[in-house]
Symmetry: C2
Subunit: 476 residues, 2 copies
């Protein structure tokens, strides 16, 4: 082995972070309880998720290599075996912590504690079922993702796999008589009314959401850090969105030790936030808390894994990571009822999907790998190309010329007849290389991350700035 | 390949069984609903579990072999690759059907239907959480079992794995403030009182139960059909025990078309059963129904797999099967509160465990495989032996001489000094060969099955014939 595992941080980091995580976890048990006790514990668990992933990934790498779960990095000059399917470790840590977290939001002890603004008197049976069915779906996605890695299932066969993993979600949704109404956008309300009951179609929508969330991340792969950084930024965007709905202002005070600086004893932060976007709706707050319980540890796990998956990668995620993160996003979108907002955080993925359609649906030849081409001399990536064995059909030609006109692809045509001979592969990564020019792999990942962040900013603008154009305040 | 997959039954069987299963599943939706609608559906799903396993195991065998999940049959003359870890298929079918079954016992539609004697008015949130956490534990056991197969985890490391899989069970049990009291047996009641609250110890007991149920089956392995036949008979014993508690007599009528034979229109079966062992306790009936929902499809899956695992085996279960079945038994024992009765069905496993102790705890050398020795000339199995590299300690000698005196093992001693040189491996399989004499592998499996059945008969005698000696009617 020439490529040693990336070194883990010094013991000093552990000595600071482990007690911090422990304090967050036991804080809800100390009197007086904080306003949102389970959220404190969730933060502690998320920190643990980060640390466990950070230390376990390098520790178990060689075990994976020995079991045959290994791969070569195609965009490097070296041939080292790199452990593959390490998303399994992320998934295991994530799920184990989600399970260990159960008693915090769901136990008689906790539910009887008076959390200001959220005093629960009855045991939250309904939420517990929802929570358990969500973990069940995520665990199924893990198992199926790992089977995909072991059995190397063909692309066409694996697209519908997330639908199977979403069955627990759908079944419990049905058993609990979940809401299947959608609010109709203003412009078409004269046709359908304000609310429309989709009935069974709603279940189809939920199943497709999980498929989309999984595969749309999985399809932007091939360069170090691409999958996990997409997941990380989407998860952080969801967290940010959830935070808007928490009852910050009701009586939450940030105690800053300002008196040390000669100022006042404490300062009331958040008072200007009004009651958050939830406007006092306990149901909305609970939904977004549920979403946070799933997203915070996911952020922890993704951060820890990104450290080892960062260029030059010491560990590969495998399909497992995409299945788990994709299912986690689908779960919160469905259970916390903000699937449309969620989809807004997938703008780069939607762009990539639309761009890929000609290759996915057979209009353009689709090679097994569409990753950019690596030039070992310059260490730069160039757009990779797909070659037409036979002249393209008229439909293909029209679509490709249209794509080329918008700068989405570059065509190589026959100098005399003008027939398309080659086309750059239709992925967002090749699109970046085409528009910005050849760049290093690390730079390409950074570009992807920047795009994902810009996409999320746009999403917030659309969601909170423009949504009034198509929706009124009726947001069920 | 010399060894072709065992042929699946003719299409005629399918043509009869598939409509039968479908009818059982849709019967609860037809008016008037049967007395226990979900049980009808469970029977239908169990039949499907049997059929799916029967057809999918041979269909996917080569996929497993190609992925490296294969093994040699050590007790045969041939060297063919046999697909290994096929318990994964059983587990997947089992869990998928358990999930698809959710709406039958747990949905507003079903819970509002008046089932005679069991009219439910409120939505059974509590039972749904219990059911989901059980599936979660079984699914974790599946994933961990499969990881064990892929990574080939060492024996000492894998013993505590079922404890991890039982965490969802324990967490939800805690969240729901599950009962941690045990009824004290009459002879020691003067010391502890009638009820004793074990508190945290009860959780330790539950975790150990799952470890025992898993490993005690896994340890009796190595001959074709041994693991799955143990699981099958234990599952059928639990089913039989559950049936005793159903409200057969309240108004359940078997409509037999006796008028076709000139008899009466229908006959009242079960009227003589009185109200079952539940004596009208709705809680007891619900617990045993829950147990049936888990055990009936397990019987289906085990039967289907036994067909392909029967001598000479075309498919091996791997550790996955033992993890799944063991966890399923622990789940019903814990959730339906009959763990002591459950342990009575493990009499052969307990015997094997006690017998194995000197080897498990290092008093006697323990070779990697303790399977009987195969004589290729006679096709018979003989007891295998462990050899002492150094003279045994005094404790080992005493224990082994005691075991030998009871006919549990056979010692080879030094003709002069009397030092023990060799000892037959301390397993129930070698014990059979020692007491009954060398026999074929098939005969040995049959002997194991006969012993398991006798053990269950003894269990019923102890549970319903002798339990009054140590317990009164107070059976919480």
């Amino acid at each position: 082995m020439r490529l040693a595992p990336r070194p883990t941080p010094s013991k000093f980091v552990l000595a600071v972070l482990v007690p911090t995580a422990t304090w967050f976890i036991i804080r809800p048990l100390v009197e007086p309880p904080p306003p949102l006790p389970a959220l404190h514990a969730s933060l502690g668990f998320s920190l643990l998720a980060f640390l466990w992933t950070l230390y376990l990934v390098p520790a178990l790498g060689q075990t994976f290599v020995k079991a045959g779960l290994k791969g070569r990095d195609l965009l490097k000059v070296y041939n080292d075996d790199i452990p593959e399917s390490m998303g399994l470790i992320c998934a295991s840590i994530y799920i184990l912590l989600l399970i260990l977290f159960i008693p915090f939001p769901f136990s008689h002890f906790m539910s009887l504690s008076t959390s200001e603004g959220l005093a629960k008197q009855e045991f939250p049976h309904f939420q517990l079922s929802v929570y358990l069915s969500s973990i069940l779906s995520i665990l199924m996605a893990t198992l199926l993702g790992f089977l995909d890695d072991v059995f190397d299932i063909r692309w066409r066969h694996k697209v519908p796999i997330p639908i199977i993993a979403s069955i627990p979600l759908l079944m419990v949704y049905y058993a609990e008589s979940g809401n299947t109404n959608v609010v109709v956008p203003l412009p078409v309300r004269f046709l359908f009314g304000t609310l429309i009951n989709l009935g069974p179609l709603y279940y189809v929508y939920m199943a497709l959401l999980s498929t989309f969330a999984t595969n749309s991340i999985n399809i932007i792969a091939g360069i170090n850090g691409s999958e996990v950084s997409q997941a990380l930024i989407i998860a952080m965007s969801v967290v940010l969105n959830d935070l808007l709905y928490l009852p910050w202002s009701t009586s939450y005070r940030f105690r800053l030790p300002l008196y040390l600086l000669g100022g006042e004893a404490d300062i009331d932060v958040g008072g200007v936030w009004s009651a958050g976007m939830a406007h006092g709706s306990r149901q909305l707050v609970e939904r977004h808390l549920l979403s946070l319980y799933f997203m915070l540890p996911l952020v922890g796990v993704c951060l820890g894994f990104l450290y080892h998956n960062w260029y030059p990668a010491r560990a590969f995620p495998g399909d497992t990571l995409c299945y788990v993160t994709g299912m986690a996003f689908a779960v919160v979108g469905i259970q916390a009822h903000f699937s449309k907002t969620l989809l807004l955080f997938f703008i780069p993925q939607i762009f990539n999907f639309v761009l890929s359609c000609p290759q996915l649906f057979g209009l353009v030849p689709c090679p097994r790998h569409r990753v950019p081409r690596f030039d070992a001399n310059t260490n730069l990536l160039h757009p990779s190309k797909a070659m037409f064995e036979r002249p393209p059909s008229r439909l293909s030609t029209v679509v490709l010329r249209l794509f080329a006109a918008f700068g989405l692809t570059e065509l190589t045509t026959h100098p005399k007849s003008g027939t398309i001979l080659e086309v750059t592969n239709l992925t967002i990564l090749n699109f970046f290389l085409l528009r910005i020019g050849p760049m290093s792999e690390k730079r390409l990942t950074q570009t992807l991350i920047a795009t994902q962040i810009s996409g999320s900013l746009l999403a917030f603008i659309v969601r909170y700035g423009l949504a009034w154009l198509v929706y009124d305040g009726d947001r069920r």
